[in-house]
Assembly symmetry: D2
Homo-oligomer: 337 residues x 4
């Protein structure tokens, strides 16, 4: 940490800041410049609120040098984290596609979609059983029955099952059926849930909150990592901006940024990231071109009658076309699919 | 709902849309203009995803006429909701002040602050026991001990206790100690928690999410209201914008907007809304001037040593000054304090 | 400036950074900590792009210590700038109100409104003659005729005239008629125009751009100040956020922030800042409560037939009510009106 | 336009709205539903402020049916606009690359870079002569000398020259030297400048403002198009969001959106869109993958000593690598390069 004093800070003020820094456990390197006195605070502290120093008299600015996250950082672990699930590797050379309906609606529906998803080369089958909906009047999912159908479909077609967990109390239930647990954007800072998932032996896909900075997102992953679960997949799903032609703005630049800051695999969700069917495909291509380790995409054989998010679900023939294009783009960036 | 067809939409397309609307349970009023055909869809439906219609062929635009929330709406209930807790009325003529530390740190600390808070005229004592922190390395609160100290202090000085509940599993515990339960910004769309609070007999203060639109915020309140708990207080606490001089931008315009759309009381939290001590006071004044029913503000007798958010906590002497100013401003807008 | 090196930066890298800093004219204070080497760069440089240093090998972070603006800064000038125009003082103890129609529409219209504005106690008469409109199909103003009518009305009722200048080529023309020149939000970074206004002997009101940070806004004022014109009034008029219930979100927190960073007077424009008539009044009150030196507000005797922005213009009787409320609030914050 | 009346609107209120609509020149289709009366207003009007109707008593909501822009719309012109400049076609099957330094710094510099740019297959040479800089203390460009060097370099290597014009007064000068005129993000709503460029016979690249909605951007292009100049290229260059790891967030989703709404070619500027060298390449790839008609990218042979934006300029070897990748990606989306 570096504390820059005001030009007119008195020696008394400088000493007061030094006292505070020492109380916090730092070692101090002082440097008196022509105008400013600068205090370098050395020590491996985390969880400090730098504003506590900023409000001290005579302090001009306080700069945190090290990132507030550790286990998620590339300084902590240089090589990419590769998550292995049977013969699927997430975060390695291969680009991974997860596909399926927004919500599991019936056994028949998930079976039809799973068959297509498998045939077209996706490795994970997505499908929600507990749906966190903006409106209390909307379809809220099939609950445990949905989980059962999802598991059955995944098993039948040799796919991995990924589904969302929305509450601490549901973790044991979802663990029984899913291969990968998903934390939705609205729960990115549900710290109780994150802690619980830190104790789990299965991979967790952590979606970025709609207004979360990249730093906050990595801090949220830190809650899972510090619990002992190092299998975290990050997933960008659109941030909120002033533009409202699309529901959200898929922040593709987050992909190269996070790949640099962290060793964790990064996916995007172009379905929630745009909210409109005909924008899903170009944004999926753009994600892989930007270096994403995978995408999670909504597909439905009859989106007109989907119980949720039909408007952003692509048709099977569109997924087929997309897979072809992604294979070429993956090659252009030195990956396979 | 109004569906506007494309200028070149065929009769077949129009009939297809009509079919969908009927399936959804609407009655249709058709109007053929010179360029556009317009379908008025009449019926009291909620929880419909209008994008389902937008993706139909030949549809130009779909416009939802009624708000997606009901119980929270002023069309549903014209008079202001006034919440009575003993001799305190929230949402009536009086402007209510809730004050206290960010976190309960010890029995002594909360006692000292409660005494000041009472003396200066605030009616609610705030203090967190379970702290949702961005970093897993930061102070996470005293847990149940914190709740006990808060209750004790509130009782001793004749104040009402307000504190945050962060998880469904904690609701019974927090209910035992608090008079008002608070839902934090990060949990605004934790729908499991909201549903649980719908069953509770005590008032709930629902903070606005950092990137929540006003509509989403009112929809979140709807989750509590539909459960049967009509004692909801809304609280604006800063939204995320590109400006980063302050942590968040306190959206004071939300106050008059929500007062028009809804009958629920509206507070602001200038402490979290700015994150900097010397901005708290002007923004508190501005909130009351804009018509807020109350404010919730962080105060600490020794903010330099506060375990969380010290930098945004005001000193007791500042609260004293603020209360004086607020009394004058309240009068200017036809309120008392 | 402070350059923080990476933990593993080699001595060669450190020397390379030192070489660059010296080329830029800085004197260097080096401090080798346990993990990081920190270079304090001392010297009074402006206009440096710190990213030039950030991309050097081994550099962890570069922190600018001094604000990039000078003449606008409170470090440069501690006392408030007070602009005197006849018996009107802007930025002193008094809160100043500027009022009038969005656009001058006819001699009769501006005369009617000017009379009201004067009677109710406003000191400046606003009215646009050249209107920058989002659509080329909208009313674009009366041009010079508008300026003439504005001047005539101001003279008749003893008011000061404020109007917008939209292009370098128009400056001499507008100077002939106006007492205060206004730069609109869309032109906040029209640097050619700002430079031109730096040579002018009349006050300039500089509106904040819809997505301008406070730092960029102060930098824009610096373009005027460095030209020799020290009569700059800053005006917050709403920033763009994800919330679209209102056209813009009036950032009232900008008022106390700018008052701390700069000595220049700060106004708000609650009419453009909200875009809806019934939100103008609460936001005007909130602005004064937060410490604004004045407001600029749109008023029209017949807003239903206004040629532009009628929907956000208040009625004369509303201005009357507002002036009363503002007088009480001004007193609460130690000002007069 | 559709006007939806409040459930409790009286017949008098309905008649008042009808009167207003007729005054505006609309023909009215009335439809009385169970709860709401809906008025369809038919007529080809532009430049109407719908808020004028929204404030009328009894009005619930007013919905504009047609886009406020016309000439830029795909409803107006279905086939893509292809701009031909010698043997270069912009907006056709081919993806076009414009490359060069941020600013022309000397004859030698632009010659060195032009040679590389040509060799690597770019078709346009970019280079600024008048630089609109946030700080008045930063390098402001070489002015006319810069234009001369740019022209000379473009001629020598058979490239087209693109450069920014910042003021109405500069248009004739820039026209003398450039093949394509660029309007920067800060000038996107400098309507005087846009009108002037409507009279010009050369293509104009219109950058999106940092906080401009897509609709406003298309409206700005309408100012040029209505003047008679139909050669407009749109360029997305990053919007402002809360994330500040990058200067701006390149909104790649704007590419497929604008391609659908408009017939005009769409470029992206990944250099300004990210502001950091190592993010430029992934975002350039993503742009082409999303369907952009071209990119404009900053390249410098010695970015360490560039007078502006060196930190976001890529090295020639990086451009070479990028061109190879873009060729593969272009093919994947059915284009050539």
């Amino acid at each position: 940490m570096v504390v820059v004093m005001e030009p007119k800070a008195s020696e008394e003020m400088v000493q007061d800041v030094i006292k505070h820094l020492k109380e916090m456990g730092f070692e101090i390197h002082r440097s008196d410049g022509v105008t400013h006195t600068i205090l370098g605070a050395v020590g491996d502290k985390t969880g400090i609120d730098i504003r506590q120093l900023e409000v001290l008299e005579g302090v001009h600015e306080v700069i945190r040098i090290s990132e507030p996250y550790k286990l998620a950082s590339r300084s902590f672990k240089r090589e990419n984290t590769v998550i292995r699930l049977g013969d699927v590797s997430i975060g390695g050379d291969e680009v991974t596609v997860a596909a399926g309906p927004c919500a599991v609606e019936s056994e028949e529906q998930i079976m039809i979609i799973a068959e297509t998803v498998k045939k077209l080369g996706a490795k994970l089958l997505r499908g929600g059983a507990f749906k966190p909906r903006t409106s209390p009047y909307s379809f809220q999912g099939l609950g445990e029955a949905g989980l059962k159908y999802l598991r059955k479909a995944a098993d039948k077609f040799g796919l991995l099952a990924i589904t969302e967990v929305v509450d601490v109390g549901h973790v044991p239930l979802v663990l029984r059926y899913a291969d990968v647990l998903q934390v939705g954007a609205r729960n990115m800072q549900n710290f109780m849930l994150l802690r619980e998932l830190g104790k789990v032996q299965k991979p967790v896909m952590l979606k970025r909150g709609m207004s979360a900075t990249i730093e906050e997102w990595l801090m949220a992953s830190e809650y899972i990592l510090t619990g002992g679960n190092d299998q975290v997949i990050l997933c960008e799903r659109g941030i909120r901006t002033f533009e409202n032609y699309t529901r959200n703005t898929l922040d593709i630049s987050a992909v190269p940024i996070v790949k640099k800051l962290s060793h964790l695999p990064v996916f995007t969700d172009p379905s929630h990231g745009t909210g409109i069917r005909n924008k899903v495909i170009p944004m999926a291509r753009a994600s892989v071109a930007a270096g994403a380790d995978g995408i999670i995409v909504e597909v439905h054989h009859d989106p007109d009658h989907a119980k949720s998010d039909g408007a952003q679900s692509i048709f099977p023939y569109q997924l087929e076309e997309l897979m072809k294009e992604l294979r070429i783009i993956a090659r252009a960036v030195g990956r396979t699919l």
